[in-house]
């Protein structure tokens, strides 16, 4: 079976900076750095890796660093059937670890793959839609 749980625990920080500055960013312990564009990064992780920490580390006054956690709905999909449940709503090929981005139930998503399961991030206004789709399309795979 698989289990789908909404979560709010990861902090999402966006960094808009020069590509050179983005190149220099090292994800803090416990965070995953997603380079989603040449001058744009998302860092997903614990509160210790928050915006203030990054802003201080980034020596570029024109950069925008902001906590955008509110902009994302996040779900954890865990259990033996997590990947199969995920494949009901997404054609992305999941790696063994790391992250990928693409459409999950037609919502632009980032997917973090860890040994314990998947963390799915979608824009907050599509969170209800994505959760409903996963629960409907993978109903028999999900724990009630």
């Amino acid at each position: 079976m698989a289990e789908l749980r909404p979560t709010s625990s990861p902090v999402v920080v966006v960094v808009l900076a020069s590509s050179e500055a983005c190149d220099r960013i090292v994800a803090p312990e416990g965070a995953i750095a997603m380079r989603i564009a040449p001058r744009e990064m998302l860092l997903v992780g614990s509160a210790d890796a928050g915006a203030e920490v990054l802003r201080g580390a980034l020596d570029e006054p024109s950069a925008i660093v902001d906590d955008v956690t509110d902009g994302w709905a996040m779900f954890q999909l865990t259990g033996d059937d997590a990947r199969e449940a995920f494949a009901r709503v997404c054609e992305l090929e999941l790696p063994d670890g790391g992250w990928v981005q693409g459409e999950v139930a037609r919502a632009g998503a980032k997917v973090i793959v860890e040994p314990g399961g998947l963390t799915i991030l979608v824009p907050a206004m599509l969170g209800a839609h994505v959760e409903e789709r996963i629960r409907a399309d993978a109903a028999e795979l999900l724990a009630p």
């Binding site: 024109s62 925008i64 199969e84 992305l92 139930a105 399309d137």
Partner: protein
């Protein structure tokens, strides 16, 4: 044992039976009526390739009964025929070829003009493969995606061997539309198949997926497999097509009579299902497997009275029971009425008739290569086994049915050829040969051979084979459920206040991609709350963007991108902006907020957020500016607090100054409201004192509830889009998309005040300059409406006429509560170098052009 219901009567079936085998055992010989001429059709291919056994099964039309397994209580009926498939009086059309020749719909029922509409109805009732169940909701099919190194399509001997070999190099998925070996008669072939199946199933790298039909090979590579209740999207690195071959469809007079059967169908009936396919048979053999079929038919107790065999195989025939052996003989004709009665074999110009009820044909193999032919050049698609085999050199045949699905005969092809359709592709389009359910599996090669034999203009003389027509998905009949599987056409965005709206009894509907409240029960009361007291509206759907970056680049971007004055906009102030494209057409609108010297905040319409984000990024690249865009649409919510008491309400919840002096119109400030950090923006869309509170999405519900609670003193009720429709109309504000057209310029919308043509450059300026020299041919106007229907809103969409000519259209219309009269917006065209002032709507209401805003034209209430 079990029983199915066939056209109202019970028919027993045995374990492993297909619907067709059970019906055949029960004595059924007419399995269907042909599409056009209602000719009787019997069980023919037995492999799911031809259209003859298509029936309606449990309400689903066009099911291939020769590959559909029996289930207890299954309801089966034939689709064609009136009053039924056995009697079918519509068979009279078979003698009306002159009225309905090939391509008749291009030639007949043309005059008088109503003839076709009558004929079409009659023809549609008389033809077809069944009716879709009109009241049954489609079941939702599961969709899943599989990523493998190799997909093997077809689990016959070649497919299983290919899967086994490919397993050494990675993951393999091997699929088959049936169950492995279930239609193969006992013998060496089945033994080999079962051994291979065991070998493949033991491999960890191989997944076997039975009863899943490959619908096509798409660019990517991508192979969708339709199963019973699910659709599997396979994303492989390589595709191996191992779909085998069909037995060749032979064309001769009477070739479609019930009783004429391909070898595999006869062998499956006899060897797999234990059904004797006939009493007296003529067998024609030219293939290796045909020899096995002959033996299987003999073993089932059929009396074979004649065997036509190629010379090369004559010495390998069974020793006894073959009747008269005609070496190198050919089937010249099949004769009969409702079913086969005799077969004429011919050799060396001499013909001989044999009375029989079964003709078994194993005359060659025709590669089932449709999937392979869908691949683009260079794609990793390979073909193995019989699907890759060279088809036998064959003639098209004569005087028979070429296309079983569409009832196209050799005479029809000859007629089309004589009419000038001299290429297999256009013959296909004109005659519809290969365009039926079999998708050319039976007739494709015969069509090509016909075209080549007549001198197909598209055929190169040195080409090894006759050119096949284009193969397209789907290769097999597929239900609409499968095609729709996984398609989430409706994706509703929801604000953080959604649950509060639901709890408040809001009527929610879709607008701009969002689920939004249209009203909370009484839109007039909501309207009055805005005009007389205070109200809230959830406007979190608006597009919201922060722009910043190095030095003055963000300011330069704004200045070049938007047509309004920007340089004089001081930090802390806001301005209404139009977005124009390069052609000067209005794409969107919003509010521009100067947060700091080089930091900007921009809003767009709810439906225009995605487009605005893309446009900003596009022009940053084009102008090569160092600007960052942060789309906050998902991150921030927004609540509009509107009404004469809106400031009083907010002052109860904030310690920050929001009075007219500290925050004049149009302006903004960052303030803490009810403990929530907000960007507070003065707005004027509804024409009253109003403040938009942009806030972190997660804090939205508590902010909303605090506002509702504090607003009780003024009998606050929230308002939805229904009230907003009138509120903004009274101010003469357009709804982009509803009131505007794709080629509306600011001048046409009477919004030139939002454009500063003195700026050196902005997107769309050159187009506006050019258009300014042409004069206005159309413009948007305010309308006062009198004498119309009781519900003024019914005028929306009506044409506007002058002297009986349509010169415009009403785009918005409502009865104004504030003004006590009917008002509207619309566009009108120039008439005789001027714009009319008095018009009439389509229903007779008088529309008088008036200036806008209708309500509070001085804007005092909004600026309060």
């Amino acid at each position: 044992m079990g029983s199915l219901e066939f056209e109202g009567r019970g028919v027993p079936f045995k374990s492993g039976d297909t619907v067709a085998s059970a019906l055949y055992r029960d004595g059924l010989r007419t399995f269907s009526r042909s599409l056009k001429y209602h000719r009787r059709r019997g069980l023919y291919c037995g492999t799911g390739d031809c259209p003859n056994c298509l029936m309606t099964v449990d309400g689903l039309p066009a099911m291939r009964t020769c590959t559909t397994r029996c289930d207890e209580g299954m309801r089966v009926e034939r689709a064609g025929g009136w009053p039924n498939a056995d009697l079918d009086l519509l068979h009279v059309t078979d003698s009306l070829h002159r009225v309905m020749p090939v391509g008749f719909y291009y030639k007949t029922f043309i005059k008088p003009r109503f003839a076709w509409s009558v004929a079409e109805r009659v023809i549609r009732r008389a033809t077809g493969l069944g009716r879709l169940p009109p009241t049954t909701a489609a079941a939702r099919e599961i969709v899943r995606h599989e990523h493998v190194d190799v997909v093997v399509i077809g689990a016959g001997i070649a497919g299983l061997e290919a899967a086994r070999d490919a397993a050494a190099g990675g993951s393999v998925l091997v699929c088959d539309e049936g169950r492995i070996g279930h239609a193969v008669a006992p013998g060496p072939t089945l033994d080999r198949l079962q051994a291979l199946e065991a070998e493949v199933r033991a491999l960890d790298a191989v997944t076997v997926l039975e009863t899943h039909t490959a619908l096509g090979v798409y660019e990517g590579l991508h192979v969708p497999l339709a199963g019973d209740g699910d659709l599997v999207h396979v994303h492989p690195s390589r595709v191996i097509v191992a779909t085998g071959a069909t037995e060749a469809h032979a064309v001769f007079p009477g070739n479609d009579l019930p009783g004429v059967m391909l070898g595999r169908a006869a062998a499956a009936l006899a060897g797999v299902h234990g059904v004797r396919p006939g009493r007296r048979a003529v067998v024609a053999v030219r293939t290796e497997e045909g020899l096995q079929h002959l033996q299987t038919v003999l073993d089932s107790g059929v009396e074979v009275i004649a065997t036509a065999v190629s010379g090369a195989m004559a010495d390998r025939l069974p020793d006894a029971g073959l009747g008269e052996v005609v070496v190198d003989g050919e089937v010249h004709e099949a004769r009969g009425g409702s079913s086969l009665r005799s077969v004429v074999l011919r050799r060396d110009g001499r013909a001989k008739r044999f009375d029989c009820d079964l003709l078994v044909l194993s005359l060659g193999l025709s590669p089932r290569d449709g999937l392979a032919r869908m691949a683009l050049p260079g794609e990793a698609v390979t073909v193995v086994g019989d699907a890759a085999a060279e088809p036998p050199a064959e003639a098209c045949g004569h005087d028979g049915i070429v296309c079983l699905c569409e009832d196209v005969s050799t005479h029809d092809l000859e007629q089309a050829w004589d009419e000038g359709f001299r290429n297999s592709e256009i013959l296909k389009r004109y005659t519809t040969t290969t365009m039926g359910p079999c998708q050319g599996a039976m007739c494709g090669r015969a069509l090509s051979c016909f075209a080549v034999s007549r001198g197909d203009v598209g055929h190169r003389a040195d080409a090894p084979q006759a050119p096949r027509t284009t193969a397209r998905p789907p290769t097999r009949p597929v239900t609409l459920e499968s095609l729709a599987a996984g398609v989430h056409e409706i994706v509703d965005k929801r604000t953080s206040l959604h649950e509060l709206h639901v709890a408040a009894g809001a009527k929610l509907d879709r607008s701009g991609g969002w689920l939004r409240p249209f009203n909370y029960g009484d839109w007039r009361e909501e309207y009055l709350a805005v005009r007389e007291r205070v109200s809230l509206m959830d406007v979190g759907t608006l597009g919201k963007f922060t722009l910043g970056g190095a030095d003055a680049d963000a300011s330069e971007l704004i200045d070049r991108l938007f047509p309004c004055r920007v340089a004089d906009l001081a930090p802390g102030r806001t301005r209404y902006v139009l977005s124009l494209d390069e052609a000067g057409y209005v794409m969107d609108d919003g509010l521009l907020v100067r947060v700091g010297e080089h930091e900007w905040y921009l809003t767009s319409t709810s439906g225009g957020a995605g487009r605005t984000d893309a446009r900003l990024r596009n022009f940053i690249d084009r102008f090569d500016l160092d600007v960052h865009v942060l789309d906050r649409t998902a991150q921030w919510g927004a609540i509009n607090v509107a009404g004469p008491y809106s400031r009083d309400l907010l002052e109860r919840l904030t310690d920050d100054p929001i009075d007219a002096e500290a925050m004049p119109f149009p302006g903004f400030t960052d303030a803490t409201v009810a403990g929530v950090a907000c960007r507070v923006i003065r707005t004027g869309f509804v024409g009253e004192l109003a403040f938009e509170l942009h806030h972190p999405r997660s804090r939205g519900p508590e902010l909303w509830q605090a506002l509702v609670e504090a607003g009780r003193e003024w009998h606050l009720v929230p308002h939805g889009l229904d009230a907003l429709e009138l509120l903004r109309l009274e101010k003469g504000h357009v709804y982009l998309g509803q009131d505007t057209m794709p080629d509306d310029t600011p001048a046409k919308l009477d919004m030139s005040w939002a454009v500063d043509m003195s700026k050196p450059w902005f997107v769309g300026k050159m187009a506006l300059e050019r258009m300014a020299t042409l004069g206005l041919a159309r413009r948007h106007v305010g309308l006062e409406l009198t004498g119309g229907p009781a519900d003024t809103a019914e005028l929306r969409g009506e044409p506007l006429l002058v002297g009986g000519d349509v010169v415009g259209r009403v785009t918005s219309a409502e009865h104004s509560i504030a003004l006590g009269r009917a008002i509207g917006l619309g566009w009108i065209r120039s008439v005789d170098d001027g714009f009319p002032e008095e018009l009439v709507t389509g229903s007779g209401a008088v529309a008088t052009v008036v200036p806008t805003p209708f309500y509070d034209p001085g804007g005092g209430r909004m600026r309060g």
